[in-house]
């Protein structure tokens, strides 16, 4: 069991990235009840936006200067695309049956993937992403990289900012009100269209941070990286209780740790050796999702709301 701390750390880091993306799913769902399946692609464009900035700076630039600019570039790219998507793909369907925007989201996801595939230079195979200098570091028996520190700092900072924003600011409270009852919120003078756009912007910002983190950790970004990541993040959002922002981060971490532990330990259970290793980690992650939903259909931190499906 001496590798347990390492497995936990791996799971935590993976889960933090899932959580950052999941926040965007859950916030948009909480307000407009739309499962934005294009959110994985927003994450991907965030990574490519950051890469573009890096390439523009030239390879000699120190990462300490480049990283903030790359983050900014990723966030700007992702938010612009998210806002355009909201304005032109989702808003016209605001009052349409729920399946229409869902299918639009899937279509948008494919479109964004293909646009990057077709028009971003050399994006048909994975593009190399710069990595942070320094590392590896050792903490007891745990080995970790400088990019891992970025993930932890980014996840904690993002969640603190989000908590402050939602609970302390006027816009944040307007957001809560819209989530609870959009019609009444409108009657109380809240500009719900603006609130929805802000939810998309916040979600895209977090996704872009996750996109940069993904690039730094794995040294590459590819046009199809949003698919698997988006699916996992959506699972995390459901696991944590869709609509609850803290639940999204918790769900992400639970999912990440579960995958990591399943890959490390299932095969050590007598008679289970053929179900272990990396091949089955996704299966176990979804088994956990199903088990949690059987006991708590609303998710870990979700609230049972009668009038919502």
């Amino acid at each position: 069991m001496h590798e347990l701390p390492q497995n936990l750390a791996n799971g935590l880091l993976l889960g933090a990235t899932y959580g950052l993306i999941a926040v965007g799913y859950t916030m948009v769902y909480g307000i407009v009840q739309l499962i934005n399946f294009a959110h994985g692609e927003i994450f991907m464009t965030g990574g490519f936006g950051a890469l573009t900035v890096y390439l523009g700076l030239g390879s000699g630039t120190s990462m300490w200067i480049a990283l903030p600019l790359m983050l900014l570039g990723g966030i700007v790219t992702a938010t612009v695309i998210a806002v355009l998507a909201e304005r032109f793909a989702y808003r016209p369907l605001r009052n349409a049956p729920r399946l229409a925007p869902l299918i639009t989201a899937i279509g948008l996801s494919i479109t964004l993937q293909q646009l990057v595939w077709g028009f971003y230079p050399k994006a048909k195979s994975p593009r190399v992403f710069p990595s942070l200098p320094g590392g590896p570091f050792h903490l007891g028996s745990i080995t970790f990289q400088s990019a891992d520190i970025f993930v932890v700092v980014a996840a904690v900072a993002s969640m603190l900012f989000l908590a402050y924003f939602v609970q302390r600011t006027r816009t944040g409270r307007a957001m809560q009100a819209t989530a609870q009852d959009p019609d009444t919120a409108k009657l109380m003078g809240i500009d719900t269209d603006r609130v929805i756009v802000i939810a998309f912007i916040l979600g895209a910002t977090f996704a872009a941070v996750a996109g940069v983190a993904h690039g730094l950790r794995y040294g590459q970004v590819s046009f199809d990286m949003g698919f698997v990541a988006g699916l996992k993040a959506f699972t995390a959002a459901v696991l944590g209780g869709i609509g609850n922002i803290y639940g999204a981060m918790l769900g992400g971490i639970v999912l990440g740790v579960a995958e990591s532990l399943a890959a490390g330990y299932i095969e050590k259970i007598p008679g289970m050796s053929q179900f272990g290793g990396g091949a089955w980690q996704d299966v176990w992650a979804f088994v956990i999702l199903i088990l949690v939903l059987m006991v708590r259909p609303q998710g870990l931190l979700g609230e049972r709301v009668a009038d919502r499906a």
Partner: protein
């Protein structure tokens, strides 16, 4: 590009004129025509089909196949390789899906101008296409399929080799050769006895690892662990932890560079510095870009002698560059060029045997002629054995030194 559009315009004009005047020139298929008076008299146009993933995550490899076949066709047309026959390309996207591949196969068979097909990239797709091509006697040459069962039947491993489809050929070598070659290299040359096996759950990777494992254990090596990763997942931290704990001397990976690059990077970043060895799917400059300095000391096997030692290969590289394709020829460009050229050679033989003209339905004749094709191609001498496999069984081990692939050892696998 100008050449190609000119060709398309000419073909359109010719077929258009033909249907307007309703003149069936010969008993040949629809759009072959005697051409306008200004064009070469008695010219027949035939199509070489291409089936590969042209979109999606493997599109870089697929577009390399398409462009290389296009280059072969242009070259044959400009040198009048087969007098009186003009070739054109018809490329279909299989999206690496067996279902789509089957639909494409049906479409290519239905087009009576199609005289041969280059493709597919994925062994899994090939399985769904073989029967359809075989029933129509339409020749299919794959530049990339490595699964031995495609040519030698499902029981090849036990020594019962039967050729399931006589229209299927390939210029790529099989896992049955590449895996064991790598095992011998690791065991005898590198003197490494403990391996950790990883594959990406796709037909190619699983097959490669299985043949490697058999030979490695037969030599006396130990498999200290095995894991399977999901292609495109990028996070291999649990696999890396397992490799570290297994105390393996090296890692053998079955899969392509988008997976093996990050794996070797994460392995070495975790402080476990052992070489990663893989097959032709990771012999690509992108591998080194993805892995960075972590790639140094890794090895990959690939078929044929090193490209720079063959004059025909340097010509291919120069011609490809001169043609100005947007995407690189990638891992299978040379094999694709040779696959298309093998079809062209077969057509040439058929035409020569029929007093310089293609017979009315040349598919059957082309299939027969494929068996005796023999020429010096981009990847070495190209010819096929009784199963449709390439007879070129020469393999090369490449190693990463100072951030570039370098030739380590060239040899022939026997047994």
């Amino acid at each position: 590009m100008r050449n190609r559009s000119l060709l398309i315009v000419t073909t359109l004009a010719v077929t258009g004129a033909l249907s307007l005047t309703a003149c069936g020139s010969r008993a040949n298929s629809g759009s072959s025509s005697s051409g306008s008076s200004s064009a070469a008299a008695g010219s027949t146009t035939v199509t070489i089909g291409v089936d590969a993933p042209l979109t999606g995550s493997l599109s870089a490899l697929g577009l390399g196949i398409q462009n290389s076949v296009d280059l072969a066709i242009k070259t044959a047309n400009s040198t009048h390789e087969v007098p009186g026959v003009t070739f054109k390309i018809s490329a279909l996207d299989d999206k690496k899906s067996p279902q789509q591949g089957q639909q494409n196969a049906t479409a290519l068979v239905a087009d009576s101008n199609v005289i041969g097909v280059v493709g597919p990239l994925n062994s899994g797709v090939a399985v769904s296409m073989q029967k359809i091509f075989d029933e129509a006697n339409l020749v299919e040459v794959s530049p990339a399929n490595t699964n031995p069962a495609l040519t030698q039947g499902p029981n090849w491993a036990t020594g019962t080799k039967t050729r399931p489809f006589k229209s299927y050929f390939r210029t790529a070598t099989t896992d049955a050769i590449q895996g064991p070659f790598a095992a011998q290299f690791a065991y005898s040359t590198l003197n490494k006895k403990k391996v950790f096996l990883v594959d990406n759950k796709l037909t190619y990777g699983v097959g490669l690892v299985a043949t490697f494992k058999d030979e490695f254990t037969k030599l006396g090596g130990t498999v200290v662990g095995q894991d399977h990763v999901t292609s495109g997942a990028n996070d291999f931290s649990s696999t890396v932890t397992a490799i570290k704990n297994s105390k393996a001397d090296f890692v053998y990976f079955g899969g392509e560079y988008p997976d093996s690059g990050p794996l070797t990077k994460q392995l070495k970043a975790a402080g476990y510095n052992v070489p990663l060895i893989g097959g032709d799917g990771m012999y690509d400059p992108t591998y080194i870009q993805l892995a960075g300095a972590a790639a140094n000391g890794d090895y990959a096997t690939s078929v044929g002698a090193p490209v720079e030692t063959l004059p025909s290969a340097t010509k291919f590289v120069a011609d490809y560059k001169a043609a100005g394709y947007k995407d690189p020829y990638a891992a299978y460009g040379g094999y694709s060029y040779d696959s298309a050229w093998a079809i062209i050679e077969a057509v040439k033989a058929v035409a020569a045997a029929n007093s310089g003209k293609l017979p009315a339905n040349p598919r059957q004749a082309v299939e027969t002629a494929m068996g005796s094709v023999n020429f010096s191609g981009v990847t070495g001498t190209v010819s096929f054995d009784q199963y449709g496999d390439a007879t070129n069984k020469q393999l090369t081990v490449y190693g990463v030194k100072n951030g570039a692939w370098a030739t380590v050892k060239t040899g022939t696998f026997s047994g």
